[in-house]
């Protein structure tokens, strides 16, 4: 059948794009030169920081999620929407925001120093963990909030009428079910963290394995070392990815948060404080970037626009390629194949692709296509999770009707399936574009100065202490990536029938 032929070739392409680089890494790094002391400490730090990042995110998320679950207030749904933003916000932009608030000359230090309190230092392990909590607290809140909202409201009513302890009766069992999954997901995300470690970490005490791969590339140009570190990262990711898959139930991007459970317990003041602190912690850096960005616009070097165009091209290319692969892959087997990619980090794929292309072409000449391909592989699992239900429903409802009318192949997609999944497709395309647009990962391995993407250029500007220009570029990047997201999401909704 035509459909399965398409599906199989798409699955083969994706599997090949993952397995090829991994094989190259294993082949090159397989000799396994014993890990140096620095490598071992990178491995230890990676696990240590991921553990604490996940733990702090989850522990802080519990009271916030509880407050959001039981309080209705003005701006509640807006706040929950904003909590989805870190997912598509370019990492480097968020880091600039954190620097503006928590950095050496940040707002917090300006407040602290007149009081004679010690200055906060954001560079180092604490900065890495702070940034990870910033990114993952919203995710943890959403996952745990889902758990809270899944408890039927009748049970709270019964508990209230009995005067029973709500926490032990209803909330503790729910938390015990939901929290380990949330912890595992965040733990895995933080294990593969590169851009945060690159900008805020470094040095012997705050280098992750991913960062060590980058350093082996950039500073030592030791490909064997990079490859053996990539093997270490691969084992980490596969192990932890399996664990997360096993522990996590719940939909990372799910909707349906607009319900508030009526409750008869708990302190309003405490809830207000929790929500207030969470909102401040999440919003202050974003506002800081926006303000500093506007003044920084005048310092922007003209090379920003070239970088912006390159980033846009990567984003649009990634959208087209991701959608082309995702549609035929929207089956259970296809989703499983794409999940391979989520445990293999971008830098591992990048290392492998570097090893593969290096004998034939100058790696820097393929920096942009490689960045695009890696972003496609990273986006696919999310995109499939968004698209699959719609396509499967269309297939179940209209597959036979289409067949009996003789619709097949392209006509079947054009007439039946695509119109049914316009809305999720628009959302998924927007997400892919925004993620690709803001990615600061594999591009760092391949690109040369002046040929990079906008995030890479921001990193260069930060390295040269041109912070004003970096903030200006951040604003451009945010506007572009949110713009790409908005255009596609909106395009999917316009005239959509479902």
């Amino acid at each position: 059948m035509a459909r399965s032929a398409f599906s199989i070739s798409a699955a083969l392409i994706v599997a090949g794009l993952i397995i090829g680089p991994v094989t190259a890494v294993l082949w090159r790094g397989g000799g396994f030169t014993a890990l140096s002391a620095a490598d071992v400490s990178a491995l230890k730090f990676t696990i240590w920081q991921a553990f604490w990042s996940a733990l702090i995110s989850v522990v802080l998320a519990i009271p916030v999620a509880r407050a959001l679950a039981r309080r209705a207030f003005w701006g509640r749904s807006a706040l929950i929407s904003v909590m989805g933003a870190p997912f598509i916000l370019p990492v480097i932009v968020a880091i600039l925001g954190l620097l503006a608030v928590f950095g050496g000359n940040g707002m917090l230090n300006l407040l602290l120093s007149p009081l004679g309190l010690p200055r906060l230092e954001i560079y180092g392990a604490q900065g890495v963990i702070l940034a990870h909590v910033f990114f993952n607290l919203p995710l943890a809140v959403r996952l745990i909030l889902q758990g809270w909202l899944a408890v039927p409201s009748e049970r709270f009513r019964v508990a209230a009428s009995l005067g029973a302890p709500v926490f032990w009766l209803l909330e503790w069992p729910m938390l015990r079910r939901v929290v380990p999954g949330a912890f595992a997901v965040i733990f895995v995300i933080c294990l593969g963290s590169f851009a945060v470690a690159l900008t805020l970490g470094g040095g012997p005490r705050a280098t992750t394995v991913e960062l060590a791969i980058y350093q082996a590339f950039k500073f030592d140009f030791d490909l064997s070392k990079a490859a053996s570190l990539a093997v270490v990262q691969l084992c980490l990711g596969l192990g932890a990815g399996g664990l997360a898959l096993f522990l996590s139930r719940g939909d990372l991007l799910g909707a349906g948060f607009d319900r508030v459970v009526q409750r008869w317990d708990g302190s309003k003041v405490l809830d207000a404080v929790c929500i207030g602190f969470a909102a401040l912690f999440l919003l202050a850096p974003l506002v800081a970037v926006a303000i500093a960005g506007v003044t920084g616009l005048i310092d922007l070097p003209s090379s920003v626009w070239g970088a912006a165009v390159r980033s846009l091209m990567i984003a649009l290319g990634a959208i087209v390629l991701t959608m082309t692969l995702a549609l035929p892959l929207a089956t259970k087997a296809g989703e499983a194949a794409s999940l391979l990619g989520i445990s293999v980090s971008g830098l591992v794929l990048g290392t492998g692709l570097f090893l593969i292309v290096q004998p034939f072409v100058r790696p820097s000449s393929v920096a942009l296509p490689v960045t695009m391909v890696v972003n496609v592989l990273m986006a696919l699992p999310f995109v499939l999770r968004i698209l699959r239900p719609g396509i499967e429903a269309a297939r179940a409802d209209f597959g036979r009707l289409g067949q009996s009318l003789g619709l097949s192949g392209f006509a079947l997609w054009r007439i039946v399936y695509l119109p049914r999944v316009r809305r999720p497709m628009g959302f998924a395309a927007g997400l892919t574009g925004a993620l690709a647009m803001g990615d600061l990962g594999v591009i760092t391995l391949f690109s040369r100065p002046g040929e990079g993407t906008l995030p890479l250029m921001m990193y260069d500007l930060m390295g040269r202490y041109q912070m004003d220009a970096a903030y200006g570029a951040a604003l451009v990047l945010v506007v572009l990536s949110l713009g790409v997201f908005w255009v596609f999401d909106k395009g999917g909704r316009a005239h959509a029938v479902v």
Binding site: R400, Q403, R414, V497, V498
Partner: protein
């Protein structure tokens, strides 16, 4: 004649055997308890349910291995007969080919057919803007416009009220007969069969029996259907 020669249709663990002949140009009802396999029989004839044994002939031509769209069969499903995102015109015009913008000739043929089923002037509406009865009419128009000898009806009107259901049944059968079609219709209501069918195929669990003239089936039912008919 539609001939299921020692046929068996299987879906997962379930299978239905059928050795029977359906007369061309007539209306044949398929009745039996729910879950017995009435829809499986229609699905098998239409090519949706795999045939695991025997053969299927239409007027002497072996159609056992043909894809659904290649069989001389049009089908009205129980639900989801119309694509909600397409207009009535587009939905019905799909009978003439995989095009969303039918040409003038095709438009004319569609409009003619819409007039025949009582949907004058509704061509540009979306299914959601039609009543349940009108949606059935649009689906009927498409099935009639598909130039296929056999029209299969898998209780397409079961969601309508009793009066409307009877009306649609009469209309479908009248138009199908006029076009010289052979009609095979599933129903769980013997009075539907009494109303329009020439003969009845009884389906008991795992077996579809050869058709019997409607009158004799209902007045003197085979042993397997005495309890069902009550």
């Amino acid at each position: 004649m539609l001939w299921c020669k020692d046929a068996e249709f299987s879906q997962g663990a379930y299978s239905l055997s059928a050795g029977l002949q359906i007369e061309a140009g007539k209306v044949t009802a398929v009745i039996g308890p729910s879950g017995a396999g009435k829809s499986t029989l229609l699905g098998g004839i239409a090519g949706f349910v795999p045939q695991t044994r025997g053969a299927l002939y239409w007027k002497g031509v072996d159609i056992t291995t043909l894809a659904p769209a290649k069989r001389p069969v049009s089908m009205l499903f129980q639900d989801n007969n119309l694509f909600p995102h397409l207009s009535v015109m587009q939905n019905v015009a799909l009978a003439l080919g995989p095009k969303l913008k039918p040409g003038a000739t095709d438009r004319k043929r569609v409009e003619q057919m819409l007039g025949l089923v009582g949907l004058d002037g509704m061509a540009d509406r979306k299914p959601a803007e039609l009543s349940g009865g009108q949606q059935s009419r649009a689906a009927l128009a498409r099935a009639l416009l598909q130039d296929r000898d056999v029209m299969l009806m898998d209780e397409p009107f079961s969601a309508l009220g009793p009066g409307l259901k009877a009306e649609m049944l009469d209309l479908s059968v009248a138009l199908a007969k006029e076009a010289g079609r052979t009609v095979v219709m599933v129903t769980h209501d013997p009075s539907d069969a009494a109303r329009v069918a020439d003969s009845i195929i009884g389906v008991s669990p795992n077996k579809a029996w050869p058709p019997i003239a409607t009158q004799s089936f209902l007045s003197d039912p085979p042993a397997a259907f005495v309890d069902y008919l009550g």
